[in-house]
């Protein structure tokens, strides 16, 4: 663990680069920070600025409207609330499903048996697919007539369960979520596998000898020792789930009737389909602030050395 000293006196005591001491870290940081500043930081700030204007994105003039974009969103835009609700559902599902499935798979695959590598690759494979491809594949799976799911249900005689999965507003979001989970489980699984490596196997052996069954061993020893990993998995999952965009865009385009909109797709619609850049960026700012709430504990832990 490295602690960041607070006085430059310590720096002078060190050997290298005595005179340039204060400059040195900046030399290392400059390339990354410059590009990051131009590409990420500046647009963030400018976006927030744009959210106080009414602008169609095309005309050379913008009109200052203060907080009106925010008010319109919160008071006059039912789709905003649908999107917010969908983000909440998506968040909860993401925090529960891919994480716990990933954990379960990691525990099972951590045992040293011969084909564990193959299993690992199989389960991780969907995670290397781009979400556009995932959307494409699952669109085919969900096709009403020739899609895989309805065909299997039909073959099993369960024609009553066949649905138009993506056009039914009750199912559409969950249908997309299934596809997303298929893709999203890989990363938690991998992170947990890494975390499991840090657990000393002798502790588990001792517990086994003492008579603890696999369930006891898991819940009393393994899981508590994975606390930091779990924290990171949850934080990364939360942050990514609030940003969800590609797969919804590809599979349902926010439909039907805007029922599967999430904040990032609705933001896109506002800006590019409905000529309302001000409202689009306002949604972005709201989304950013919401994500910040989840990011703060994570950032604090990571920042703490």
């Amino acid at each position: 663990m490295v602690s960041a000293p607070t006085s430059t006196g310590e720096l002078r005591a060190a050997g290298p680069g005595k005179r340039l001491g204060w400059l040195l870290p900046w030399l290392f940081l400059t390339p990354a920070l410059t590009i990051y500043g131009i590409v990420v930081v500046y647009p963030m700030v400018y976006s927030a600025y744009l959210s106080f204007f009414k602008w169609d994105g095309v005309s050379p003039t913008k009109q200052f409207v203060g907080l009106q974009n925010y008010l319109t969103l919160l008071l006059n835009d039912p789709v905003f609330w649908i999107a917010l609700r969908n983000n909440a559902i998506w968040l909860v599902a993401s925090l529960l499903l891919p994480t716990s499935i990933g954990l379960g798979l990691a525990v099972l695959l951590n045992q040293k048996f011969r084909s564990s590598h193959i299993f690992r690759s199989v389960f991780y494979f969907p995670a290397i697919l781009s979400l556009a491809i995932v959307g494409l594949i699952w669109n085919w799976i969900y096709l009403p007539d020739i899609g895989l799911i309805n065909q299997i249900l039909g073959a099993l005689g369960l024609t009553g369960l066949q649905h138009n999965w993506l056009s039914d507003p009750n199912f559409a979001l969950y249908a997309v979520m299934l596809a997303a989970t298929w893709n999203a489980t890989g990363l938690p699984m991998l992170l947990y596998l890494a975390g499991l490596q840090t657990i000393n196997p002798e502790v588990l052996e001792a517990a086994k000898v003492d008579g603890a069954g696999p369930m006891r061993r898991f819940f009393s020893i393994t899981f508590p020792l994975l606390r930091e990993t779990t924290l990171i998995v949850l934080a990364i999952t939360a942050i990514n789930s609030l940003k969800v965009y590609d797969i919804i865009y590809a599979m349902t385009y926010g439909g039907p009737a805007n029922q599967t909109q999430v904040l990032s797709t609705w933001m896109y619609f506002m800006t590019y389909n409905y000529n309302s850049v001000g409202q689009g960026t306002a949604i972005a700012v709201i989304l950013f602030l919401l994500t910040l709430i989840f990011a703060v504990p994570y950032v604090r832990i990571m920042g703490r050395s």
Binding site: L24, A32, I35, Y36, V39, V40, V41, V122, A132, W140
Partner: protein, 282 residues
Amino acid sequence: MSSASISTREHRERTLLVFFYVALTLTAVIWFAPIVMLVFTALKSAGDFAIHGALAIPESIAWANFSDAWETGVKDYFWNSVIIASIKVPLGVVIEAMAAFALTHIPFRWANKIFILILLGLIVPIQMALVPLTIVMNALNLIDTRTGLTLLYLGFGVPFGVLIMRGFFRTIPTELIEAAKIDGCSYGRIFLQIALPLALPAVLSLCILDGVATWNEFILAQIFLRSDELRTLPLGLVNFSTQFSTEYNQLAAAVLISLVPVIIVFLFFQRYFVSGMAGAVK
């Protein structure tokens, strides 16, 4: 405890284990089924998919699907993606490692605050940045250029890359660094000759994750690349699916071709994966 009760307990544990592994295999089969479907579809001839359904084994193997898909569009976009990924990934890893090194092993006052600023970048939804980005890129004359897109990818890759590299650099004992400093090594040499080599697993994991992400990136490419000659593979696939909307077999072939490099990289580097990620989770 009597040996009899130990062996029944062991017996029970073993049956439980067997049960789990059967379930695991079954799950793996179901999990992989969509990919199997994709492969079968790519091998089918035009009418086969509609007539015989998704999971049916192809009647005859239509290898022509692959060459057709390659010719009609994949090949142009394929190389663009290769060029961009092979420049962006190494460059990105280098600047991120440099930044992470500074944040962990070069003591200075702002380290924490800068790290937090960088972490915040993980939160920014790309859609938020699109309109201002077009203005910035235009001012720099970088719209519709490979350089411009690479720059964008670099910028958005900084948070995650710095996170992973920092996690790993933190596992390098300070004593090692101190010893090198006392020996008179400059930070530059420490970075190149000690830190980086030690962090090889993390570097490789980052290469994989970043490479895959760059290969698959869509929205920035869609907005900032115009000319046909420059388009990357994900754009090409989307174009493809518009033009060949119900010719699933050709589409599936195109998708599979686009996966080949990813699979190769993945298989090649995967053994480093888990140990590389270990840094991030500590």
